[in-house]
């Protein structure tokens, strides 16, 4: 990538960052809501640790990483809404008059969502440690946790950007939020796959890529260094992000050509 492209990405990213951070109503709930769910589920499901074969000492250790995925889902909505709003308000049309490339616009647009995800990730790790979570992979594991969490958030932001670019309507992007949550619920987020006793649910969770994202993050907390889980976690994040950004780039290019 040329220095000029980096400068273009920086300009769009700076605008995205300022626009996102100026909306506390957007930032605060996306960080606080997963913490409320964590508090309720870690306390309410603590007796699940008594199940034979449950892999963690406490349900807090087990469920902490679900917050990271929820933050990534919020990143998808934030990024998608920003792209769609710019299309709807005509800002994208005005950008057509500048030498900005569509790839720079796309990558820059997810900066705001990525910043919220970073703040959320650090907050969740801090709250988890304060609440007594045991990080089996140690301090190095915390760093990898942050990297993987950010990668997942950026990949999901790509999914959101794709929705934003295709629909051009913020309301339509908001409408996919429940669908993304369905994917989270139909994964191994609440119990490990080997303890899901309903066959069809276990099957769906096995084919659901969200399960591998959760399990990759979770392995650093409850297992330590698990190469296979991490490889699947990183692998699925890269595949989802790569496909989403590729498709979003194409959609945006088509929309700009049409314009």
């Amino acid at each position: 990538m040329s220095p000029e492209t980096w400068r273009e990405i920086g300009l769009v990213a700076w605008r995205s960052l300022r626009r996102t951070m100026r909306q506390p109503a957007l930032v605060v709930p996306s960080i606080v809501f997963p913490l409320i769910l964590l508090a309720v589920s870690s306390a309410g499901l603590s007796s699940a640790t008594k199940l034979p074969g449950f892999p963690a000492d406490t349900y807090l250790d087990f469920s902490l990483t679900v917050c990271f995925i929820q933050a990534a889902l919020f990143a998808a909505i934030t990024a998608g809404t920003e792209v769609a709003t710019d299309i709807q308000s005509g800002f994208l049309n005005r950008l057509q008059l500048t030498p900005l490339k569509s790839s720079a616009i796309l990558v820059g647009q997810v900066a705001g969502a990525a910043m919220i995800a970073l703040i959320a990730t650090v907050t969740y790790i801090g709250v988890g440690l304060l609440a007594g979570a045991d990080m089996k992979a140690g301090p190095g594991g915390v760093l990898v946790l942050i990297v993987l969490s950010m990668l997942i958030s950026v990949a999901m932001a790509g999914v959101g950007a794709l929705m934003g670019a295709r629909t051009g309507q913020p309301e339509a992007v908001q409408g996919i939020f429940p669908l993304l949550f369905v994917l989270l619920f139909l994964s191994s987020s609440n119990l490990p796959r080997n303890l899901i006793s309903v066959d069809w649910f276990r099957e769906v969770a096995t084919y659901n890529p969200i399960s591998y994202l959760v399990e990759g993050l979770r392995s650093l907390i409850i297992t330590g260094w698990d190469g296979a889980a991490l490889l699947k976690g990183f692998g699925f994040a890269v595949i989802i992000g790569g496909l989403a950004f590729y498709a979003a780039g194409r959609s945006l290019r088509t929309r700009m050509e049409r314009t």
Partner: protein
Amino acid sequence: MSVSGNLEVAQAVGNRQLRHAFYNPALAIPSVIFPVVFLIAFAGGLQKVGDVPGFAFDSGYTAFQFVFVFLQSSAFAGLFTGGFAVAADWESGFARRILLGAPHRSGVLLGYAFAGLVRWLATTVIITIGALIAGMNVNGSAEEIVGLVTLGILVNIAATLWGIGFAMRTQSLQAGPGMQVPVFVLLFLAPVYVPLALLTGWIHTVASWNPLTAILDSSRGFIDGNPVNSWVAFACGAGLLALLAIWAVTGLRRAERGE
């Protein structure tokens, strides 16, 4: 104040709300999808939690979770009709015209409550059919099921009144999270995943004082054919209804005065 005048207003407001809710897929679909997803995620994904030592519920984990989803859908149907619909009517200016046109304004509250109830009953039929197809056991007698439905109606009307009172005061859809979060927190601070006896720590203390715990426990008792503390549950439901009726009526009066 004539009863027939109130009923005429209630019928007009209720019918309008129902037409709006049922002919608008963006409103109708989420109110069904969300409870179904909760039921699938909790009853399917967490089925194994029913094997935790000390978990005693003869009808099985699907029925145990069905009751929570039943009450949750009841609360949210009320909230969507009483809260969001009223707030949307204020934003569009329609609420002001209703207040001007209605000779008996308490009929307006009755109309929203009627619409909330019908909306919930339609949702709950779908959820119940889904749960029965999934193999839910119902050990309760016909009278006990009537008790369960009556508690659901109390929760539904209470949630509608909460939403009306809130929306009459704020008159804005942007206050939606402020309306939803207390209901969401109250619901999830009850014994959602396991019986109260299996909760420990702060969640046990909070759940013990939560009025929804009594309603949830009693409702589960009804479906299991083993009613527990029914009079406490009905007293809690009636108490909530009385308090929230005052909240809704005072909200209506403030709106009438233009505050």
